[in-house]
Symmetry: C2
Subunit: 131 residues, 2 copies
DNA sequence: CGGGATCCCATAGGATACTG
DNA sequence: CAGTATCCTATGGGATCCCG
């Protein structure tokens, strides 16, 4: 079975465009996944609307897409309660939780270095219009 | 000066859509920046064509865009040598290099967990078509 | 409440050809 | 060699409305 061969012997190569690791990178690198991981890592489970507000300015359709993709990739577990009104809760799987630290590190980098980036950007733009 | 106020007192908030940290996240989260950081962290300086081959399947226009954006954000330094044929070298700035560890962590996560993600995906898709 | 259905758009990204 | 210049498309993402 191909999957088992992968698990056992496959040598992942980020630099190979055909390597599935790239697919993974692409998913993590979308606009919202990282934020959702962070939110769910902070407190779980959370409900749809809660996430929607927590993430700030995301369209419902897009949140659904994001959550579905994460569920598909085994990062999130979705639980539906047969109630009226409906209640749906999301939480990280162990796999999803293992992403917490790496993503948090990126987040911290962003918070720590925004100012520098902004300055660099300003300098670059001024130099550009300068000559 | 606004920038200094930022540096000193601004409270970054990843969850606020208007916060510049989000801009930073968006840039890092594009398709190529992370790979370029990794390549340059591994060995610097590198030339355009070298990066182009190293990164695997990137169009020259897109590599230029990526590199320019990174230069603008203060992540890479671009050096042009007045020779024929032209030689241009790219290397990480200290700021860019500070991204190395967080990004490498994400890369390692991807390599370590591709198989799990792929399996989860397969399971999900089968369950989907099942009912 | 938690989305599905629709419609729409910007733009990141790609292919190819050309040039100082 | 290190890019520009064009042209093109795929799609991530957004706005709105509706439904069980």
């Amino acid at each position: 079975m191909v999957i088992n061969q992968l698990t056992a012997a496959y040598e992942p190569d980020l630099y190979n465009p055909d390597c599935p690791t790239r697919v993974v990178l692409d998913r993590i690198g979308d606009r919202w996944t990282a934020l959702v991981v962070l939110l769910l890592a902070e407190r779980s489970p959370r409900r749809f609307t809660e996430l929607r507000q927590g993430v700030g300015g995301i369209a419902p359709k897009v949140l659904t897409q994001t959550l579905r993709a994460m569920e598909r990739d085994g990062l999130v577990k979705r639980t539906v309660y047969a109630e009226v009104p409906p209640r749906v809760e999301y939480e990280l799987t162990p796999l999803g939780d293992s992403l917490r630290r790496p993503i948090a590190a990126i987040g911290r980098w962003a918070e720590r270095h925004v100012a520098e980036v902004l300055e660099a950007r300003k300098r670059f733009d001024e130099a550009q219009s300068g000559d």
